[in-house]
Symmetry: C2
Subunit: 199 residues, 2 copies
Amino acid sequence: MFYPDSLNKLITALGKLPGVGPKTAQRLAFYLLNAPAEEAESLAAAILEARRKIHYCSVCGNLTDRDPCHLCTDPERDQTIICVVEEARDIVALEKTRQYRGLYHVLQGAISPVDGIGPEQLKIKGLLRRLHDGKIKEVVLATNADVEGEATALYLAKLLKPLAVKVTRLAYGLPVGSDLEYADEVTLARAFSGRREME
Amino acid sequence: MFYPDSLNKLITALGKLPGVGPKTAQRLAFYLLNAPAEEAESLAAAILEARRKIHYCSVCGNLTDRDPCHLCTDPERDQTIICVVEEARDIVALEKTRQYRGLYHVLQGAISPVDGIGPEQLKIKGLLRRLHDGKIKEVVLATNADVEGEATALYLAKLLKPLAVKVTRLAYGLPVGSDLEYADEVTLARAFSGRREME
Protein backbone atom coordinates (compact mmCIF):
# COMPACT_ATOMS: atom_id res chain seq x y z
CA MET A 1 0.00 0.00 0.00
CA PHE A 2 2.93 2.38 0.53
CA TYR A 3 4.71 1.65 -2.73
CA PRO A 4 3.64 1.97 -6.35
CA ASP A 5 2.26 -1.28 -7.80
CA SER A 6 5.20 -2.20 -9.97
CA LEU A 7 7.61 -1.67 -7.07
CA ASN A 8 5.45 -3.91 -4.88
CA LYS A 9 5.51 -6.54 -7.61
CA LEU A 10 9.31 -6.40 -7.79
CA ILE A 11 9.62 -6.67 -4.00
CA THR A 12 7.27 -9.68 -3.99
CA ALA A 13 9.18 -11.38 -6.81
CA LEU A 14 12.53 -10.83 -5.08
CA GLY A 15 11.08 -12.03 -1.77
CA LYS A 16 10.51 -15.47 -3.31
CA LEU A 17 14.26 -16.03 -3.65
CA PRO A 18 15.69 -18.34 -0.99
CA GLY A 19 17.11 -16.52 2.03
CA VAL A 20 15.56 -13.22 0.97
CA GLY A 21 13.09 -11.85 3.53
CA PRO A 22 10.82 -8.80 3.13
CA LYS A 23 13.51 -6.33 4.30
CA THR A 24 16.17 -7.72 1.98
CA ALA A 25 13.70 -7.85 -0.91
CA GLN A 26 12.97 -4.17 -0.34
CA ARG A 27 16.67 -3.32 -0.21
CA LEU A 28 17.35 -5.28 -3.42
CA ALA A 29 14.40 -3.63 -5.17
CA PHE A 30 15.65 -0.16 -4.25
CA TYR A 31 19.11 -1.13 -5.40
CA LEU A 32 17.76 -2.32 -8.75
CA LEU A 33 15.81 0.93 -9.18
CA ASN A 34 18.86 3.07 -8.46
CA ALA A 35 21.43 0.95 -10.30
CA PRO A 36 22.49 1.87 -13.84
CA ALA A 37 19.80 0.78 -16.32
CA GLU A 38 22.21 -1.67 -18.05
CA GLU A 39 22.83 -3.48 -14.78
CA ALA A 40 19.15 -4.06 -13.98
CA GLU A 41 18.40 -4.98 -17.57
CA SER A 42 21.32 -7.37 -17.82
CA LEU A 43 20.14 -9.18 -14.68
CA ALA A 44 16.67 -9.59 -16.18
CA ALA A 45 18.20 -10.73 -19.48
CA ALA A 46 20.57 -13.16 -17.72
CA ILE A 47 17.63 -14.79 -15.90
CA LEU A 48 15.72 -15.26 -19.16
CA GLU A 49 18.76 -16.42 -21.12
CA ALA A 50 19.81 -18.94 -18.48
CA ARG A 51 16.26 -20.30 -18.32
CA ARG A 52 16.20 -20.62 -22.11
CA LYS A 53 19.64 -22.12 -22.66
CA ILE A 54 20.44 -24.21 -19.60
CA HIS A 55 19.03 -27.70 -19.25
CA TYR A 56 20.08 -31.03 -17.80
CA CYS A 57 22.55 -33.20 -19.70
CA SER A 58 20.61 -36.23 -20.97
CA VAL A 59 23.50 -38.52 -20.01
CA CYS A 60 24.72 -37.37 -16.58
CA GLY A 61 22.12 -34.82 -15.44
CA ASN A 62 24.64 -31.97 -15.14
CA LEU A 63 23.49 -28.44 -15.98
CA THR A 64 24.65 -27.62 -19.47
CA ASP A 65 24.01 -25.50 -22.55
CA ARG A 66 24.77 -28.37 -24.92
CA ASP A 67 23.84 -32.05 -24.87
CA PRO A 68 25.69 -34.21 -23.87
CA CYS A 69 27.58 -31.84 -21.56
CA HIS A 70 31.28 -30.98 -21.86
CA LEU A 71 32.15 -33.40 -19.03
CA CYS A 72 30.47 -36.38 -20.74
CA THR A 73 32.11 -35.60 -24.11
CA ASP A 74 35.61 -34.75 -22.86
CA PRO A 75 37.88 -37.51 -24.32
CA GLU A 76 40.55 -36.69 -21.71
CA ARG A 77 38.34 -37.83 -18.85
CA ASP A 78 38.47 -41.36 -17.48
CA GLN A 79 35.48 -43.17 -19.04
CA THR A 80 35.60 -46.07 -16.57
CA ILE A 81 34.58 -44.29 -13.38
CA ILE A 82 31.37 -42.48 -12.43
CA CYS A 83 31.04 -40.18 -9.42
CA VAL A 84 27.43 -40.02 -8.20
CA VAL A 85 26.36 -36.68 -6.65
CA GLU A 86 23.06 -35.26 -5.44
CA GLU A 87 23.07 -31.93 -7.25
CA ALA A 88 24.75 -30.39 -10.28
CA ARG A 89 26.48 -27.84 -8.04
CA ASP A 90 28.28 -30.69 -6.25
CA ILE A 91 30.12 -31.31 -9.52
CA VAL A 92 31.64 -27.84 -9.29
CA ALA A 93 32.81 -28.48 -5.74
CA LEU A 94 34.48 -31.73 -6.83
CA GLU A 95 35.97 -30.24 -10.00
CA LYS A 96 37.58 -27.51 -7.92
CA THR A 97 39.61 -30.15 -6.05
CA ARG A 98 41.28 -31.14 -9.39
CA GLN A 99 41.51 -34.65 -7.90
CA TYR A 100 38.93 -36.38 -10.03
CA ARG A 101 39.03 -36.77 -13.81
CA GLY A 102 36.22 -39.26 -14.40
CA LEU A 103 32.54 -38.97 -15.28
CA TYR A 104 29.63 -37.81 -13.14
CA HIS A 105 26.03 -38.73 -12.51
CA VAL A 106 23.60 -36.31 -10.88
CA LEU A 107 20.74 -37.91 -8.92
CA GLN A 108 18.89 -34.58 -8.65
CA GLY A 109 18.13 -35.13 -5.00
CA ALA A 110 18.53 -37.62 -2.19
CA ILE A 111 16.22 -40.13 -0.55
CA SER A 112 14.22 -38.25 2.07
CA PRO A 113 11.02 -39.90 3.33
CA VAL A 114 10.21 -36.74 5.34
CA ASP A 115 10.01 -34.73 2.12
CA GLY A 116 8.30 -37.60 0.28
CA ILE A 117 11.33 -38.26 -1.91
CA GLY A 118 11.93 -41.96 -2.58
CA PRO A 119 14.40 -43.68 -4.94
CA GLU A 120 11.86 -43.46 -7.79
CA GLN A 121 12.12 -39.65 -7.77
CA LEU A 122 15.89 -39.80 -8.30
CA LYS A 123 17.71 -40.27 -11.62
CA ILE A 124 18.77 -43.82 -10.77
CA LYS A 125 17.47 -45.52 -13.93
CA GLY A 126 19.83 -43.45 -16.05
CA LEU A 127 22.71 -44.50 -13.82
CA LEU A 128 21.85 -48.20 -14.22
CA ARG A 129 21.62 -47.73 -17.99
CA ARG A 130 25.15 -46.28 -18.01
CA LEU A 131 26.46 -49.34 -16.15
CA HIS A 132 24.91 -51.84 -18.60
CA ASP A 133 27.72 -52.18 -21.13
CA GLY A 134 30.31 -53.01 -18.45
CA LYS A 135 32.72 -50.21 -19.39
CA ILE A 136 32.35 -48.57 -15.97
CA LYS A 137 34.66 -50.15 -13.41
CA GLU A 138 33.96 -47.97 -10.35
CA VAL A 139 31.08 -45.94 -8.97
CA VAL A 140 32.03 -43.37 -6.30
CA LEU A 141 29.08 -42.44 -4.10
CA ALA A 142 29.61 -38.75 -3.35
CA THR A 143 26.23 -37.95 -1.84
CA ASN A 144 26.18 -35.57 1.14
CA ALA A 145 27.45 -36.63 4.54
CA ASP A 146 24.01 -36.12 6.11
CA VAL A 147 21.20 -38.58 6.86
CA GLU A 148 19.60 -38.30 3.40
CA GLY A 149 22.92 -38.57 1.58
CA GLU A 150 23.92 -41.58 3.65
CA ALA A 151 20.55 -43.30 3.09
CA THR A 152 20.90 -42.70 -0.65
CA ALA A 153 24.44 -44.08 -0.68
CA LEU A 154 23.35 -47.20 1.24
CA TYR A 155 20.42 -47.73 -1.13
CA LEU A 156 22.62 -47.38 -4.21
CA ALA A 157 25.36 -49.61 -2.77
CA LYS A 158 22.78 -52.37 -2.25
CA LEU A 159 21.28 -51.82 -5.72
CA LEU A 160 24.66 -51.94 -7.48
CA LYS A 161 25.96 -54.94 -5.55
CA PRO A 162 24.83 -57.57 -8.14
CA LEU A 163 26.66 -55.68 -10.93
CA ALA A 164 30.34 -56.25 -11.62
CA VAL A 165 31.32 -52.78 -10.50
CA LYS A 166 33.35 -51.51 -7.56
CA VAL A 167 31.27 -49.21 -5.37
CA THR A 168 33.09 -46.74 -3.12
CA ARG A 169 32.01 -43.94 -0.79
CA LEU A 170 33.76 -40.65 0.07
CA ALA A 171 35.75 -40.90 3.32
CA TYR A 172 34.34 -39.56 6.56
CA GLY A 173 36.72 -37.89 8.99
CA LEU A 174 38.03 -34.67 10.42
CA PRO A 175 37.79 -31.67 8.09
CA VAL A 176 41.28 -30.42 7.20
CA GLY A 177 42.34 -27.56 9.46
CA SER A 178 39.82 -28.41 12.16
CA ASP A 179 40.37 -28.80 15.89
CA LEU A 180 39.92 -32.26 17.39
CA GLU A 181 38.41 -30.62 20.45
CA TYR A 182 35.51 -29.20 18.44
CA ALA A 183 34.79 -32.26 16.29
CA ASP A 184 31.42 -33.85 17.06
CA GLU A 185 31.59 -37.38 18.44
CA VAL A 186 30.09 -39.06 15.35
CA THR A 187 32.69 -37.49 13.06
CA LEU A 188 35.44 -38.32 15.51
CA ALA A 189 34.27 -41.94 15.77
CA ARG A 190 34.24 -42.19 11.96
CA ALA A 191 37.68 -40.61 11.76
CA PHE A 192 38.90 -43.14 14.30
CA SER A 193 37.41 -46.21 12.64
CA GLY A 194 38.64 -44.96 9.25
CA ARG A 195 42.21 -44.39 10.46
CA ARG A 196 44.95 -45.25 7.99
CA GLU A 197 48.48 -46.44 8.44
CA MET A 198 51.03 -43.73 7.80
CA GLU A 199 53.62 -44.42 5.14
CA MET B 1 34.99 -22.37 -16.31
CA PHE B 2 32.92 -25.02 -14.56
CA TYR B 3 29.52 -23.70 -15.59
CA PRO B 4 27.94 -23.08 -18.98
CA ASP B 5 28.33 -19.46 -20.15
CA SER B 6 24.78 -18.33 -19.59
CA LEU B 7 24.81 -19.71 -16.05
CA ASN B 8 28.07 -17.86 -15.34
CA LYS B 9 26.47 -14.69 -16.67
CA LEU B 10 23.49 -15.12 -14.36
CA ILE B 11 25.74 -15.76 -11.35
CA THR B 12 27.78 -12.64 -12.18
CA ALA B 13 24.65 -10.51 -12.58
CA LEU B 14 23.21 -11.75 -9.27
CA GLY B 15 26.57 -11.22 -7.55
CA LYS B 16 26.30 -7.48 -8.23
CA LEU B 17 23.31 -7.19 -5.89
CA PRO B 18 24.17 -5.70 -2.49
CA GLY B 19 24.91 -8.28 0.18
CA VAL B 20 25.08 -11.10 -2.38
CA GLY B 21 28.51 -12.80 -2.44
CA PRO B 22 29.67 -15.47 -4.91
CA LYS B 23 28.20 -18.36 -2.88
CA THR B 24 24.79 -16.71 -2.51
CA ALA B 25 24.79 -15.70 -6.18
CA GLN B 26 25.39 -19.33 -7.09
CA ARG B 27 22.59 -20.50 -4.79
CA LEU B 28 20.17 -17.93 -6.21
CA ALA B 29 21.11 -18.85 -9.78
CA PHE B 30 20.45 -22.55 -9.11
CA TYR B 31 17.19 -21.62 -7.46
CA LEU B 32 16.13 -19.58 -10.49
CA LEU B 33 17.03 -22.45 -12.81
CA ASN B 34 15.02 -24.96 -10.80
CA ALA B 35 12.07 -22.71 -9.97
CA PRO B 36 8.88 -22.88 -12.05
CA ALA B 37 9.42 -21.00 -15.33
CA GLU B 38 6.69 -18.45 -14.45
CA GLU B 39 8.49 -17.50 -11.27
CA ALA B 40 11.84 -16.80 -12.93
CA GLU B 41 10.15 -15.00 -15.80
CA SER B 42 8.00 -12.90 -13.52
CA LEU B 43 11.09 -11.77 -11.61
CA ALA B 44 12.76 -10.71 -14.86
CA ALA B 45 9.56 -8.98 -15.97
CA ALA B 46 9.14 -7.25 -12.60
CA ILE B 47 12.67 -5.82 -12.82
CA LEU B 48 12.05 -4.46 -16.29
CA GLU B 49 8.57 -3.15 -15.46
CA ALA B 50 9.73 -1.42 -12.28
CA ARG B 51 12.62 0.20 -14.16
CA ARG B 52 10.24 1.38 -16.88
CA LYS B 53 7.40 2.64 -14.68
CA ILE B 54 8.97 3.88 -11.46
CA HIS B 55 10.57 7.30 -11.31
CA TYR B 56 11.00 10.10 -8.81
CA CYS B 57 8.09 12.40 -8.08
CA SER B 58 9.00 15.79 -9.54
CA VAL B 59 7.60 17.52 -6.45
CA CYS B 60 8.81 15.53 -3.44
CA GLY B 61 11.31 13.03 -4.86
CA ASN B 62 9.36 9.98 -3.68
CA LEU B 63 9.40 6.84 -5.86
CA THR B 64 6.19 6.75 -7.83
CA ASP B 65 4.48 5.46 -10.96
CA ARG B 66 2.60 8.72 -11.55
CA ASP B 67 3.65 12.34 -11.25
CA PRO B 68 3.09 14.01 -8.83
CA CYS B 69 2.96 11.03 -6.48
CA HIS B 70 -0.09 9.92 -4.48
CA LEU B 71 1.27 11.55 -1.32
CA CYS B 72 1.68 14.97 -2.96
CA THR B 73 -1.79 14.86 -4.51
CA ASP B 74 -3.71 13.42 -1.54
CA PRO B 75 -6.13 16.21 -0.49
CA GLU B 76 -6.54 14.60 2.94
CA ARG B 77 -2.92 15.26 3.83
CA ASP B 78 -1.82 18.35 5.73
CA GLN B 79 -0.42 20.73 3.09
CA THR B 80 1.34 22.96 5.64
CA ILE B 81 4.02 20.60 6.87
CA ILE B 82 6.90 18.90 5.06
CA CYS B 83 8.92 16.05 6.50
CA VAL B 84 12.44 15.92 5.01
CA VAL B 85 13.96 12.43 4.67
CA GLU B 86 17.13 11.06 3.10
CA GLU B 87 15.68 8.24 1.02
CA ALA B 88 12.31 7.30 -0.44
CA ARG B 89 12.24 4.16 1.70
CA ASP B 90 12.29 6.35 4.84
CA ILE B 91 8.82 7.53 3.80
CA VAL B 92 7.53 3.99 4.14
CA ALA B 93 9.01 3.71 7.65
CA LEU B 94 7.30 6.95 8.67
CA GLU B 95 4.00 6.09 6.99
CA LYS B 96 3.90 2.83 8.92
CA THR B 97 3.82 4.78 12.20
CA ARG B 98 0.47 6.35 11.09
CA GLN B 99 1.54 9.41 13.11
CA TYR B 100 2.24 11.80 10.30
CA ARG B 101 -0.25 13.02 7.70
CA GLY B 102 1.70 15.83 6.02
CA LEU B 103 3.90 16.06 2.94
CA TYR B 104 7.40 14.71 2.33
CA HIS B 105 10.59 15.79 0.68
CA VAL B 106 13.28 13.28 -0.26
CA LEU B 107 16.85 14.63 -0.33
CA GLN B 108 18.14 11.50 -2.11
CA GLY B 109 21.11 11.27 0.19
CA ALA B 110 22.84 13.02 3.07
CA ILE B 111 25.87 15.29 3.32
CA SER B 112 28.92 13.04 3.51
CA PRO B 113 32.30 14.62 2.74
CA VAL B 114 33.95 11.17 2.94
CA ASP B 115 31.86 9.99 -0.01
CA GLY B 116 32.20 13.34 -1.77
CA ILE B 117 28.53 14.22 -1.27
CA GLY B 118 27.95 17.89 -0.51
CA PRO B 119 24.71 19.88 -0.24
CA GLU B 120 24.75 20.56 -3.99
CA GLN B 121 24.26 16.82 -4.68
CA LEU B 122 21.08 16.75 -2.60
CA LYS B 123 17.59 17.80 -3.71
CA ILE B 124 17.62 20.98 -1.59
CA LYS B 125 16.70 23.45 -4.33
CA GLY B 126 13.36 21.71 -4.82
CA LEU B 127 12.71 21.96 -1.09
CA LEU B 128 13.41 25.73 -1.07
CA ARG B 129 11.11 26.13 -4.07
CA ARG B 130 8.30 24.43 -2.14
CA LEU B 131 8.76 26.86 0.75
CA HIS B 132 8.57 29.97 -1.45
CA ASP B 133 4.84 30.63 -1.37
CA GLY B 134 4.67 30.61 2.44
CA LYS B 135 2.02 27.87 2.66
CA ILE B 136 4.37 25.54 4.54
CA LYS B 137 4.43 26.30 8.28
CA GLU B 138 6.75 23.56 9.50
CA VAL B 139 9.67 21.52 8.18
CA VAL B 140 10.46 18.33 10.14
CA LEU B 141 14.04 17.21 9.60
CA ALA B 142 13.81 13.41 9.65
CA THR B 143 17.28 12.57 8.37
CA ASN B 144 19.04 9.60 9.97
CA ALA B 145 20.37 9.78 13.52
CA ASP B 146 23.97 9.22 12.30
CA VAL B 147 26.78 11.68 11.58
CA GLU B 148 25.73 12.31 7.97
CA GLY B 149 22.06 12.71 8.87
CA GLU B 150 22.89 15.06 11.71
CA ALA B 151 25.22 17.16 9.51
CA THR B 152 22.49 17.40 6.89
CA ALA B 153 19.91 18.43 9.49
CA LEU B 154 22.22 21.12 10.87
CA TYR B 155 22.96 22.41 7.38
CA LEU B 156 19.26 22.58 6.49
CA ALA B 157 18.31 24.19 9.80
CA LYS B 158 20.82 26.98 9.16
CA LEU B 159 19.68 27.34 5.55
CA LEU B 160 15.99 27.56 6.48
CA LYS B 161 16.49 29.93 9.42
CA PRO B 162 15.89 33.16 7.40
CA LEU B 163 12.55 31.79 6.12
CA ALA B 164 9.38 32.17 8.13
CA VAL B 165 9.03 28.47 8.78
CA LYS B 166 9.31 26.40 11.95
CA VAL B 167 12.13 23.85 11.66
CA THR B 168 12.00 20.78 13.91
CA ARG B 169 14.10 17.64 14.26
CA LEU B 170 13.04 14.12 15.26
CA ALA B 171 13.65 13.47 18.97
CA TYR B 172 16.70 11.57 20.13
CA GLY B 173 16.32 9.24 23.08
CA LEU B 174 15.98 5.69 24.28
CA PRO B 175 14.44 3.30 21.77
CA VAL B 176 11.11 2.00 23.08
CA GLY B 177 11.53 -1.35 24.79
CA SER B 178 15.24 -0.90 25.36
CA ASP B 179 17.25 -1.37 28.54
CA LEU B 180 18.86 1.70 30.11
CA GLU B 181 21.83 -0.44 31.00
CA TYR B 182 22.63 -1.17 27.36
CA ALA B 183 22.06 2.32 25.95
CA ASP B 184 25.25 3.99 24.69
CA GLU B 185 26.26 7.14 26.59
CA VAL B 186 25.55 9.55 23.72
CA THR B 187 21.98 8.30 23.38
CA LEU B 188 21.54 8.35 27.14
CA ALA B 189 22.89 11.91 27.38
CA ARG B 190 20.48 12.98 24.63
CA ALA B 191 17.59 11.23 26.34
CA PHE B 192 18.51 13.02 29.55
CA SER B 193 18.82 16.49 28.04
CA GLY B 194 15.60 15.90 26.09
CA ARG B 195 13.62 14.80 29.17
CA ARG B 196 10.02 15.95 29.27
CA GLU B 197 7.73 16.78 32.15
CA MET B 198 5.15 14.10 32.75
CA GLU B 199 1.54 15.17 32.65
